[in-house]
C-alpha cells in the first residue's frame, strides 16, 4: 500500500518546528507503523536527507518508549495498543496520516517526534517506591495478600509510563500516570507505612512540574495502551484527601 505522511519535524528544542510531507510506497499491510517509518527513513537516507527521529525500543508494547500522536490520537486508532504494535492494515491505501510528538508543557520536544519525559522520573523519585533495603526482607509468604487486592494493584502496575495520558489530556494533566503509580503501592500491605507521605509527595511534585489539572475529560483513559482506568484517579484523590487531613490534624 501507499501512504502520505504529514510529520512534525523540529531540529532541536530551540527550533520552531514544522510539518513536512512524505510519501511511502510498497508498504506491506502486515508491517507495523514503526516499520513503515523505517522504510521512510531508509528512503530519506537514500536521498541524503536526515531521517525523522522517533523514540522506540522494545517494539512489543511494553517498554513505553514509543510515542507518536497519529491523526490526533496518542498511539493511533487501535484501542489499547501502543504505536509499535499498531499495524498498517488499520489504514487504507492512499491515506494521509498526520504524525506529531506528545505535546505538553512538561514534555519539551528534543527532536522531531522525541520528547523529554524527565518529569515522570521526578514524580517517581518523589515517592514511587517502598523502602525495602536489599537483604532486609521477610519471607515472601509472611504477609498474605488477598487475590482481589493483588489483582487491583496489578491493574495499576501495568502502566508502562509512556505518557500517552498526558498527551491525550486537553489540560496535559499527569493524573492517570501518577494515580497508577500511587495506587499500585498504596493498595498493597507493604505500601501502607509510607502511604500518606508517598501520596502527598507524588501529587505535589506532579503539580509543581507544570502538568495541568484534571477536569475529568477522560481522554487519558481512552488513550492508555494498558487500559488503566479513571477509578485510580478517584482513589488517589481520596488517598490524598485523607493524607492531607491527617497532616493538618497533626499541625
Amino acid at each position: 500500500m501507499k501512504v502520505h505522511l504529514k510529520i512534525w519535524t523540529q531540529k532541536n528544542a530551540a527550533d520552531k518546528g514544522r510539518f513536512t510531507t512524505h510519501t511511502v510506497e510498497n508498504v506491506s499491510e502486515d508491517s507495523s507503523f514503526l516499520e513503515m517509518f523505517d522504510i521512510l527513513n531508509e528512503q530519506l537516507v537514500e536521498q541524503g536527507k536526515e531521517p525523522i527521529a522517533f523514540d522506540h525500543d522494545c517494539r512489543e508494547g511494553i517498554c513505553g518508549m514509543c510515542s507518536m500522536v497519529i491523526n490526533g490520537t496518542p498511539h493511533g486508532p487501535e484501542k489499547e495498543t501502543t504505536v509499535c504494535q499498531l499495524h498498517m492494515r488499520k489504514f487504507k491505501d492512499g491515506d494521509t496520516i498526520v504524525v506529531e510528538p506528545w505535546r505538553a508543557k512538561a514534555f519539551p520536544v528534543k527532536r522531531d517526534l522525541i520528547v523529554s519525559r524527565e518529569a515522570f522520573e521526578r514524580i517517581q523519585q518523589a515517592g514511587g517506591y517502598i523502602t525495602a533495603r536489599t537483604g532486609s526482607a521477610q519471607d515472601a509468604n509472611a504477609t498474605l495478600i488477598p487475590r482481589d487486592t493483588l489483582e487491583k494493584a496489578m491493574d495499576a502496575a501495568a502502566c508502562i509510563g509512556c505518557g500517552a495520558c498526558v498527551a491525550a489530556c486537553p489540560n496535559a494533566s499527569a493524573m492517570l500516570f501518577t494515580a497508577a503509580k500511587v495506587s499500585h503501592l498504596n493498595l498493597l500491605p507493604q505500601g501502607q507505612p509510607e502511604k500518606d507521605k508517598r501520596t502527598i509527595a507524588m501529587v505535589e511534585t506532579m503539580d509543581a512540574l507544570g502538568f495541568g489539572n484534571c477536569t475529568n475529560y477522560g481522554e487519558c483513559q481512552a488513550a492508555c495502551p494498558k487500559g488503566i482506568t479513571l477509578d485510580f484517579i478517584a482513589k488517589m484523590n481520596r488517598d490524598y484527601a485523607v493524607a492531607k487531613s491527617k497532616q493538618i490534624a497533626k499541625g
Binding site: D30, P51, C58, M65, Q85, I114, L150, M154, A157, A158
Partner: protein, 642 residues
C-alpha cells in the same frame, strides 16, 4: 592472561558462605569515599546500583533509553525461578542447581550455579517487599507455575509481565537512591569505551545521545550490565537498541569473551511477515501445552488453507519423532525440527526470501476437547497479541510460529566474583557468561540478573575496593584524553565514509549470514562460509556505509552505524567459537555431531571447557584460552527427551 576462577574452598553448599566470611569489607564510614560506575539499568544494573547506594557507595548509572525503566528486562513475560518449595513438591536449592547444570548441558561452572540457586529464594522475598505484584492464590499465598526443563513448580510470575514488574521493583529502589542523591542517573548515554589506569578499569567514555557530546566519567570500579547480543542476527526478540557495543569495546580493552557461540533460539515466535520486518515477537511457550505442531506432509500443500488440509496429509512431526514429550520437546529440539521441516519445503505462511518459514500451532483439538472458552481463559491474551500482529484469528485458523534468536548464554568472562579479566571491571546479568552453560532454562535469566545485582556484587565488589582503595581519579588524566580521541576518531570515520548504503542494510545482511550459517544448526562448511562472508560485509560497510546527519545532535543513524560496526567484528569470534567447538551441546548444534535420531552429541572428553577469546589487536586472530569445566557434583549424562 589470568583466568583464575577464584572458586572458594569447601563443599559446594558452603563455598558462598566461606567466600563471604573471608572477603574484605569496606567500613561503613569509608564507603562514601568510593565511586562506582554502573552501565545498564536492567534487572542486573538497577538492582546493583540501588543495593550499592543503600550500602553507602556513590554510584553513577547509565542507560541509552530515556528512563532506566525501559531496559529490555521489561519485556520478559513468563516468570522467574526460585527454590522456595512453596508447593511442597520436592524442590530444593540442590534441585534447582541440578536442573540448571543439566539444562546447560554440563557446560557451566558448578560453584556459580549453586550460589545462584542458593540466593534465589531471597530474590522473591526482596521483590515482594518492594511491592512486586506476583500472582497469588485465593488464600493470599504466592502462586507458582512450572516451566520447561523442570519437574517442580518453582516459577513466580506477574500476569504476562514478570519482567516489567521485577524491573519496576528494582527501578523504584533505584529512583529512591537517585532522590537521596546517592545515585546519579545518566539517561540517553551510550558507553563507547572503557578507560583503564594502571591496568584497572577506572572509567568510561560515553556519547550523550541528545547533544552528541563525548563525556568521560571516572570511578573506582566499573560494572557492566548491558544485556545480551542476540541482535547479531538482526531479527530477534531483543529491543532495537540492544547491542554488543559496550561488551565489545571492553573486549578490545582486554576483557576476554567467553563462549560467544552459545546463543539460544526460542521456538514459539511469530514468523517473519516479509522483508520489512524489524523485530520478532515471542509468545509464551505455555502455548505448546495445548497446541499441536504440524506441517503438511507434502510440499504442494504448503500454500493451501490449513483448514482444507485433511488430517492424514498433516505431519505432526514432534509427536511423531518424540512420542513421550511430543509438542513439549525442549526449546532447541523443537526449534531445529521446525527448521528441518521448512528446509524440506514444507514450511507455511508467506514466502520470505524464497521460502516459507513457519509451522502451524493448532488449537482445533483443544477447542474441540475443552471448548473455546477454556482455551480463551488460558491463552486469551496471547491470541489477542497474535491477532494484533498478524491480523489472523487463531481460534479459526492455526497459529503460525517459527524460532527466533532470544537469549545469549555467552558473554564477557568473569570469575566467581563476577570480575572480568580486566581488574575492576565486573560484568553482571546477560552480559556475562557465567551461569547457564550451553543452554538457559526458562525463567532463569531474570533470576540470574537479580542474583548478580542484589546478592552477589554487594559482597564481591567491596572485596576489590577494600584491597585497592578509593582513588578519587580525575578525568583530566591522559588515559581519558586518549580514549576520547579514539572515540571521536571512530565517529568521524563513520561519518566520513559517505557511501550509498544505510547502516540497517549492513545489519540485515550480517543477520542473514549469521542466521543461515551460525544459527540453529551449524556445520564446518556453513561456518567456514560465514568466515568468508563476514569480512566482505565489513569491508563493504567501511567503503559504502552512509551515515547522514552530524554528530552534534540526536542521530539514530550514527548510533546504529556504531552498533553495526561492532556486530560486524563480533560476529567473527562468534563463528570462530562455533567452529572451534567441534561437538554439539545445548543450543550449539553441529550437524556433524548428532545421534542417530538427531539429538545433540556432546564430547565431554575434549570439550568440557569454556572457550575464552582474547583480543590480539586489529586485524589479528584472537587468542583462545580454555577454562576446564569440572563436574564434582553432577555427573554428565545424555539428555533424553524421547
Amino acid at each position: 592472561m589470568n583466568l583464575d576462577s577464584k572458586i572458594p574452598e569447601g563443599p559446594i553448599s558452603e563455598k558462598w558462605s566461606n567466600y563471604k566470611f573471608h572477603a574484605k569489607l569496606v567500613n561503613p564510614s569509608n564507603r562514601r569515599k568510593y565511586h562506582v560506575i554502573v552501565v545498564g539499568s536492567g534487572l542486573a544494573g538497577a538492582s546493583a546500583a540501588a543495593s550499592l547506594a543503600e550500602q553507602g557507595y556513590n554510584v553513577s548509572c547509565f542507560c541509552y533509553q530515556d528512563s532506566p525503566r525501559r531496559a529490555h528486562s521489561i519485556a520478559a513475560q513468563g516468570g522467574i525461578n526460585a527454590a522456595k518449595n512453596y508447593q511442597n513438591d520436592g524442590d530444593s536449592v540442590y534441585r534447582l542447581f541440578y536442573d540448571t547444570v543439566k539444562g546447560g548441558d554440563f557446560r557451566s561452572r558448578e560453584a556459580n550455579v549453586y550460589r545462584l540457586a542458593e540466593v534465589s529464594a531471597n530474590i522473591i522475598d526482596q521483590c515482594v517487599a518492594q511491592g512486586v505484584p506476583f500472582a497469588r492464590e485465593y488464600g493470599g499465598l504466592l502462586a507458582n507455575r512450572s516451566f520447561g526443563g523442570a519437574q517442580v513448580s518453582r516459577t513466580f510470575y506477574a500476569r504476562g509481565q514478570t519482567g516489567q514488574q521485577l524491573l519496576l521493583g528494582a527501578y523504584s529502589a533505584l529512583e529512591r537512591q537517585i532522590a537521596l542523591g546517592k545515585v546519579k542517573m545518566y539517561t540517553r548515554r551510550e558507553m563507547l569505551d572503557l578507560v583503564k589506569i594502571d591496568g584497572h578499569a577506572k572509567g568510561i567514555v560515553v556519547r550523550n545521545l541528545v547533544d552528541g557530546e563525548i563525556e568521560k566519567y571516572s570511578g573506582d570500579a566499573v560494572l557492566l550490565c548491558t544485556g545480551g547480543y542476540g541482535n547479531v542476527f538482526y531479527l530477534s526478540t531483543n529491543a532495537q537498541g540492544c547491542s554488543v557495543t559496550a561488551a565489545w569495546r571492553c573486549y578490545k580493552r582486554g576483557a576476554a569473551f567467553a563462549n560467544p557461540c552459545f546463543t539460544q533460539i526460542h521456538p514459539t515466535c511469530i514468523p517473519q511477515h516479509g522483508d520489512q520486518q524489524s523485530k520478532l515477537t515471542l509468545m509464551s511457550e505455555s502455548l505448546r501445552n495445548d497446541g499441536r505442531i504440524w506441517v503438511p506432509k507434502k510440499a504442494e500443500d504448503a500454500s493451501k488453507n490449513p483448514n482444507d488440509i485433511p488430517e492424514d496429509a498433516r505431519d505432526y512431526y514432534l509427536e511423531r519423532k518424540y512420542p513421550s514429550f511430543g509438542n513439549l520437546a525442549p526449546r532447541d529440539i523443537s526449534s531445529r525440527a521446525a527448521k528441518e521441516a521448512c528446509d524440506d519445503g514444507r514450511g507455511v505462511g508467506p514466502v520470505v526470501g524464497g521460502s516459507r518459514r513457519g509451522v502451524y500451532l493448532d488449537f482445533a483439538d483443544a477447542i474441540k476437547r475443552d471448548g473455546k472458552k477454556a482455551v480463551e481463559e488460558r491463552y486469551g491474551n496471547l491470541f489477542e497479541m497474535y491477532e494484533r500482529i498478524t491480523g489472523e484469528n487463531a481460534y479459526e485458523v492455526p497459529m503460525r510460529i517459527y524460532p527466533a534468536s532470544h537469549y545469549t548464554m555467552g558473554g564477557l568472562w568473569v570469575d566467581y566474583e563476577l570480575q572480568s579479566t580486566v581488574p575492576g571491571l565486573f560484568v553482571l546479568g546477560e552480559a556475562n557468561f557465567s551461569d547457564h552453560g550451553a543452554n538457559r532454562l526458562g525463567a532463569s535469566a531474570l533470576m540470574q540478573g537479580l542474583a548478580d545485582g542484589y546478592f552477589v556484587i554487594p559482597y564481591t565488589l567491596p572485596n576489590y575496593l577494600a584491597q585497592n582503595g578509593a582513588k578519587n581519579i580525575k578525568t583530566d588524566r591522559p588515559e581519558f584524553e586518549e580514549c576520547v580521541k579514539e572515540v571521536k576518531a571512530q565517529i568521524k570515520k563513520l561519518l566520513d565514509v559517505k557511501g550509498t548504503k544505510s547502516p540497517r542494510h549492513f545489519h540485515m545482511e550480517l543477520g542473514k549470514v549469521m542466521w543461515e550459517n551460525c544459527g540453529m544448526a551449524r556445520s564446518k562448511e556453513s561456518l567456514e562460509k560465514a568466515l568468508k562472508l563476514i569480512p566482505q560485509i565489513r569491508e563493504d560497510f567501511w567503503k559504502n556505509v552512509r551515515v547522514v546527519g552530524d554528530e552534534h545532535s540526536i542521530n539514530n543513524e550514527l548510533e546504529r552505524a556504531g552498533r553495526v560496526a561492532d556486530f560486524l567484528e563480533f560476529a567473527e569470534i562468534m563463528v570462530l567459537d562455533a567452529l572451534n567447538r567441534d561437538e554439539s551441546c545445548g543450543a550449539h548444534f553441529r550437524i556433524e555431531h548428532q545421534t542417530d535420531d538427531g539429538e545433540a552429541k556432546r564430547n565431554d572428553a575434549e570439550y568440557s571447557y569454556a572457550s575464552i577469546w582474547e583480543y590480539a589487536g586489529p586485524g589479528k586472530a584472537p587468542n583462545l584460552y580454555k577454562e576446564p569445566i569440572t563436574h564434582d557434583e553432577v555427573k554428565p549424562v545424555v539428555r533424553s527427551y524421547k
